[in-house]
């Protein structure tokens, strides 16, 4: 059992446990806190997978921005545990949901089984340290180098990046529409 293994189990427990606690917690604030734990766990897993840039993004965007937004809204709306009537409206739905989710996880995990025999992941589990290696002509090779991301985004994925720009604009406008009082002066009355 290597260090990586130990770290994996720790972070796996963190993320899954955080997720479960989030789902089951009573208070929205604590749910948000558990969520942050889970997200940080996932970020740590990204590190284990040597995707350092994504790990950073994960912490910044999710744990930093999104969850803060959540907390902000929770505070704004002032929904405490008192406002939450019951978490499971009735145990039947909860049971069905729980069972269905377990089945889903089981099915998805079972899918991976054909790989087990033939796959020995240890071989491909080498630390990649080729930050300076030139990108290949026909494929984007995995790289820990942030610049690889940058280059890829600005060349091959230029179009999606541009679309994302509009996506963000649309989201922004959407939020404005929903938050700002009606734009036409006449409707203020």
């Amino acid at each position: 059992m290597s260090t990586v293994d130990i770290l994996f189990w720790i972070f796996a427990t963190l993320s899954v446990g955080g997720g479960l606690s989030m789902v089951l917690s009573r208070h929205p604030v604590s749910a948000a806190m558990f969520m942050i734990i889970s997200l940080v766990g996932v970020a740590a897993l990204f590190v284990l997978l040597e995707s350092f840039f994504l790990a950073v993004l994960q912490v910044l965007v999710y744990a930093g921005a999104v969850m803060v937004l959540f907390l902000f809204i929770i505070m704004l709306l002032d929904v405490g545990p008192g406002a939450s009537k019951i978490n499971f409206s009735n145990w039947k739905t909860g049971l069905i949901g729980f069972g269905a989710s377990c089945l889903l996880i089981f099915l998805l995990s079972a899918l991976l089984s054909p790989g087990e025999d033939t796959l020995s992941f240890g071989q491909s589990w080498t630390v990649i340290n080729n930050s300076t290696a030139p990108a290949p002509v026909d494929a984007l090779v995995f790289s820990t180098d942030i610049s690889a991301f940058g280059y890829a985004l600005m060349t091959k994925y230029m179009l999606p990046v541009q679309i994302s720009g509009f996506l963000l604009l649309a989201a922004m406008i959407g939020v404005i529409i929903l938050s700002k009082r009606s734009g036409t002066p006449s409707s203020n009355s």
Binding site: L108, L111, P134, D138, L159, F166, L169
Partner: protein, 514 residues
């Protein structure tokens, strides 16, 4: 860094000029809206949007019909594909967007809602839809899909003073996000096998495409490994994501609620553009990357189609609320269209009949839906979400042109000859027969017969004498006051009506394709 430039060498932005122009137009609309002070100025933003889209539509038609007869080509490292199908879908979305804008202009004005933002979002969404249908790459597909979705969420909830509208937006958002999660999971599974086939016991395809998200690569992967369970699961999950988009069972459940709450032009937009986009993507997928799995997918699609037809029609029968009814009837239409998709899988070929028939059907659906939603838009129902049968009593007598338009629109949706919708259904029947999809035809026949109940139930209200009103009933709010003063909408609806009739009798050169 130079090595990366290879990827950028065919970023041919000129190929997507309509999308770019549309986005530019959207920005200009926003700008006009921003700098306009008076309500008149805001209105001008809308007028500009309509004008802009009209010009773009005409110019786009001219472009590919007269200037550049289109041929199949790719750009952006094979992420986009352009060709006659894509040009047709672009025109479809442009037309639909234009009609939405026109209806919205009236709708927003009467409801005193924001104008600029609405048009902006509509146009961006349309651009996203156009990109979506050209994409040959899962990342582009996903991003475009989400752009559309992100535009739609606020649009559905546009009337922020109405809890129903907001609720519809919320529901749409939750299920949209859920379905995109399913779609993503599917993509990821396929990607996982694609990047490392040996690890999953799959055959390595002899491919020149190193990008595992690319449709070409996926096509080769799937052709080589058509019985790989991970791939199959990925494919069905992607289908689940798209089934949500088109409103096919069992992911149809959100449809009536969202249609119910959404503002009328957006209901139309959802019903037409969003659904059509789903089908265009579905066609691209099942005839492209997933074509190796036809055998496996057909029974599933057959089940989806049948279930969708029955569920949509049956649930629509009991609806009193017209928007819900139309939503469910749209579900049924998705079922019919699913049959066309199946037929296109059975009868392969790049420009096979089934695809054209699907296009034609969607086009007739567009004409009919906008006729119906157009008339519903001009109805001054107190609450936009609550259109009831009784609001349309004796419309034919009160406002003859609107009544006639509505009847023709409903008739075309129901597939009554000699309207365009009938030709669509006829072609669908013929192609389904050719593909020997007898069970699906049976389901379609039964479905259409059930649908007569609610379609003609509505026509009945429009034509016939109302039920007797009792003294103690509240005097009804006059829905049809000033229905003649709707400006540009009247000629627009009448031309839709005319087109629905004309296409039903004479298809002319359009028919050559079938």
């Amino acid at each position: 860094m130079e090595s990366y430039l290879n990827f950028a060498k065919d970023n041919l932005w000129g190929e997507i000029w309509p999308e770019l122009t549309l986005c530019l137009g959207a920005l200009i609309v926003l700008a006009i809206d921003l700098f306009a002070n008076s309500s008149n100025g805001k209105k001008r933003a809308g007028q500009f949007a309509i004008l802009f889209q009209t010009i773009l539509f005409v110019f786009h038609l001219l472009d590919y019909l007269l200037l550049r007869h289109t041929f199949d080509r790719e750009s952006f490292s094979g992420m986009l594909k352009h060709g006659i199908h894509q040009d047709i879908t672009r025109s479809f979305f442009l037309l639909s967007s234009l009609l939405v804008s026109v209806l919205a202009q009236f709708f927003l004005h009467t409801r005193k809602l924001r104008i600029g933002e609405f048009h902006h979002l509509t146009m961006v969404a349309t651009a996203g839809l156009m990109i979506l249908c050209q994409s040959q790459h899962f990342i582009v597909l996903f991003v475009a899909l989400e752009t559309v979705a992100i535009c739609f969420y606020p649009l559905v909830a546009f009337d922020r003073e109405s809890p129903k509208s907001l609720e519809a937006g919320m529901k749409y958002l939750i299920f949209g996000a859920l379905s995109s999660a399913l779609l993503l999971l599917g993509i990821v599974l396929i990607y996982g096998v694609g990047v490392n086939p040996e690890a999953w016991g799959a055959t390595v395809p002899n491919t020149s495409y190193a990008d595992a998200f690319s449709f070409h690569a996926v096509y080769q992967l799937i052709t080589e490994n058509s019985d790989h369970s991970l791939i199959r699961t990925g494919v069905v999950l992607i289908l689940a994501g798209i089934a949500f988009k088109v409103g096919a069972a069992p992911f149809q459940i959100w449809v009536p609620d969202v249609y119910h709450g959404a503002p009328m032009p957006i209901t139309a937009f959802l019903a037409v553009s969003s659904k059509a986009a789903g089908f265009f993507v579905l066609l691209t997928l099942v005839n492209g990357p997933f074509s190796g799995l036809s055998e496996f997918l057909l029974p599933l699609l057959g089940f989806i189609a049948t279930f969708t037809i029955f569920f949509g029609n049956l649930a629509a029968c009991t609806q009193k609320n017209l928007k819900r009814m139309l939503g469910l009837s749209g579900v049924a239409h998705a079922g019919y269209l699913m049959v066309a998709v199946m037929a296109s899988m059975i009868l392969p070929g790049s420009s096979d009949r089934a695809v054209w028939i699907l296009f034609f059907y969607l086009f007739t659906y567009l004409l009919a839906s906008f006729a119906v939603f157009g008339v519903m838009t001009i109805a001054k129902v107190q609450n936009d979400s609550e259109h009831e049968f009784t609001d349309y009593e004796e419309l034919l007598r009160k406002v003859p042109w609107a009544g006639l338009t509505l009847i023709i629109g409903i008739g075309s949706l129901a597939g009554i000859p000699p309207l365009a919708g009938f030709i669509g259904k006829l072609l669908l029947f013929s192609v389904a027969l050719e593909a020997k999809l007898y069970l699906s035809i049976l389901a379609m026949v039964v479905g259409v017969v059930i649908s007569i109940y609610y379609y003609f139930g509505w026509i009945r209200e429009i034509c016939f004498h109302p039920r007797p009103v009792f003294e103690d009933d509240d005097p009804k709010h006059d829905v049809w006051k000033d229905a003649d003063r709707v400006g540009f909408i009247k000629p627009l609806l009448l031309s839709l009506l005319f087109a629905s009739i004309l296409l039903g009798i004479w298809q002319g050169p359009l028919g050559d394709a079938f």
